[in-house]
Symmetry: C2
């Protein structure tokens, strides 16, 4: 393990790229996203760049307004299992919904992925605020915010208990007695809570990192508490160093309140990149991408974000004063978008363009490899972030440029690894291996 603080990079693979028009980029094969080859190659490229992990966002629904861009389609644990077979070091993260899954099934699937990948798996727990998903699981609308988060808390509790239901040595395979399992080391968890009753134990032994990582990405107070209590890392939203500092302070305070050390939780804000050889070239790429976005895509996107039919407004005028941020999982972000539009007097059309047509919601840097590396180094230097959740505009080209041109600059500064030093995802992230079931139960 290195002695000094190390930068961590996660690759967020969102279909053809973070930009809404990524699939329309010249030369891109828009059908690639329904093949594993495409994703395996991206993961291998990220592994060449010694990224800590790849991550797949996910949603168990076909989005109502989703006609204009590919969304996550192949179920991500199936995809990650295929990627595991073709990579050696890189971490394997994906989203699972705590609202529409049973914890035993998710604990088992990620434990399996962790086992077959040699300790590289992790799950990003989301509560699924969208109504399309709710309607695929017997509900007319998603459960109330507070209910979803209470369920997610209990869900994470059960995951950890199941992952810890085996002490080391659960498989004895003793030829002299004919005993395969030592059932004294594989114990029921006997969980009885508000949402779940789970006896356990899990039927999968732990892999070399003890248990899969837990990631969380919620920005609301309940989401932050969930992260502070259970997560090993968070995917955060921060568009300025000040925001990142405030977020880190708040999150780490919450972690300490839950009896954890402030540094037990890693913070990775999203970082969208549009890279060019010169700043002018980067801006040109941004403009070319913006030109490719169908206006109907941008209108759908804003309508979803603001929960109002933006198509009935004059697109060449500003958003009407009556439009406000809805109360849901995107409230904070929607408020920011509305504020940006009003402060800069943008028309709806200009606002759509400024939002990359509904591309990444995160901090976007448009610039040269040097500018990107400087930004990363500066933010990392503040101590408020431990790395970034990278969202290249277009895949694979945006990632290729990053790996070939930004990664070497980061390595030169000494904050980013030359090669993988750990054997597991937790080791590469500098996270401790969870303790035995007994001590874990005391800690939570």
């Amino acid at each position: 393990m290195p002695q000094h603080r190390q930068l961590h990079l996660n690759l967020n693979i969102y279909g053809t790229g973070a930009h809404a028009a990524a699939w329309l980029w010249p030369g891109n094969d828009p059908q690639a996203v329904i093949t594993t080859d495409y994703f395996v190659k991206l993961a291998q490229l990220a592994e060449r760049g010694t990224f800590d992990a790849v991550f797949f966002a996910d949603r168990p629904a076909f989005p109502e307004n989703g006609a204009f861009r590919p969304f996550p389609s192949i179920e991500p644990t199936v995809l990650l299992a295929a990627i595991a077979a073709h990579t050696r070091h890189i971490g394997l993260l994906a989203t699972a919904s705590s609202s529409y899954n049973e914890p035993y099934n998710i604990a088992r699937r990620y434990a399996s992925l962790d086992l077959i990948s040699g300790g590289r798996a992790g799950v990003n727990i989301v509560t699924s605020a969208d109504s399309e998903a709710a309607r695929n699981f017997g509900l007319g609308a998603p459960p109330a915010h507070a209910d979803r988060y209470r369920r997610a808390d209990e869900f994470a509790e059960v995951l950890k208990a199941l992952w810890d239901s085996w002490s080391p040595g659960g498989i004895v395979a003793d030829r002299s007695t004919g005993r395969y399992y030592d059932t004294d080391r594989i114990r029921p968890i006997d969980h009885h809570g508000e949402f779940f009753s789970v006896r356990g134990p899990l039927n999968v032994p732990p892999g070399p990192q003890g248990r899969p990582m837990i990631v969380q990405a919620g920005g609301s107070p309940a989401g932050r508490d969930l992260a502070a209590k259970h997560a090993d890392a968070v995917f955060a939203l921060a568009t300025s160093i000040e925001e990142a500092r405030e977020y880190a302070l708040d999150l780490r305070e919450r972690a300490v309140k839950h009896g954890r050390a402030a540094e037990d939780i890693l913070i990775f804000p999203g970082l969208a990149t549009i890279i060019g050889d010169t700043e002018a070239a980067a801006r040109r790429r941004q403009e070319e991408l913006a030109d490719l976005v169908p206006i109907a895509q941008g209108v759908n996107y804003l309508s979803d974000l603001l929960q109002v039919d933006v198509g009935r407004f004059d697109l060449d005028k500003p958003l009407p004063e009556t439009v406000s941020a809805p109360e849901n999982g995107m409230t904070t972000f929607a408020l920011n978008v509305i504020r940006k539009a009003r402060e800069n007097g943008l028309t709806i059309r200009q606002l759509i363009r400024a939002q990359n047509g509904g591309g990444s919601n995160h901090k976007t840097i448009v610039g040269t490899p040097e500018q990107i590396a400087a930004h990363i180094t500066e933010w990392f230097g503040t101590g408020a972030v431990d790395g970034f959740n990278l969202m290249p505009d277009v895949l694979p080209s945006g990632l290729e440029t990053f790996v070939e041109q930004v990664v070497p600059l980061l390595r030169r500064t000494g904050i980013f690894r030359e090669h993988y030093e750990g054997g597991t995802l937790r080791e590469n992230l500098g996270l401790s291996k969870p303790n035995s079931p007994q001590s874990d139960l005391k800690a939570s």
Copy 2:
């Protein structure tokens, strides 16, 4: 497609093999079952033998009395995704519980596996009669038999509807309009039933075989009806040609009642094999395996099957007259075991030995490659079976012998393929590709 009837073979991979003592077989690595390498090599070996498919039984629980042998551990869709990455032709089948999963999640996972494997996936729907599983999903005991089967019927209905929710051409990726999906070809299913409300559509496009296969294995009247209505193939229990004939007649009658053609459903009885160069060598192998079974394993197995603590009986006396078959998913099989014990005057210890210590419940042939091939050819010739669900005693050795010595004999008779002729699992099985959503809805 061949003009004459073709034999089909499925490899049932149950941990280290069908025999209860398989993991104790000299030279076997008992830890191999928690690695993907082991399973990938078995699937590659089966693919060399031009098997139609590999199959993983599964159960979402750690079995109460499971100390003495490895049981399915790695979650099977994760395992099949890894196998898909290392094979080209062989079908990929696994069990999923309709009682403890949401149909949207299972439809999506198997559709994903089907897509990434080029049309090789299928799901064996089980209703999970065991109480260990029930206790991992909020229940004290499994739901009543009739309730489980009504749910399974609706579950299969929803799977098929979701898989058919895309018409061909759902992805248009039209650069001129910026439309990625043609949402006229991706339609909600609006299912509202007793157990599920699922709006749909699925968020995964269909693979080249239209939709994943459905397999069923229930022997009860409700299980047979479920198979007759929804399954493309059944894993059956038949220990004599007469039983196989009766089963086929009954199942095909039920299929016709559900508006299907009698040949729309393939019948694969389980076939356990213990192979030797001579019949005496095969019998010796059987005895050596029986000697390896810890008596406690056999007692646990019989106790589970008969739902009575067999350990409190004198093992060197016959089963007490008071012991009868419990009413559950294993009733028919338990009745057969009790009848066999009583007809042959077996002590409990002898009965355990005769059951391979709790190995395969299915027809077991102990003999030479020629005897195995003759058995398969004879049964296939009756028309009552379309192939077999092969359960070698010990893996990989029992499969190696089968592929090297039995498969060539079967090929020589002309009933088994020399090489894969179809591009998908359905094509290799001679099953028709499901029609478009509209015509499918009419048929069901």
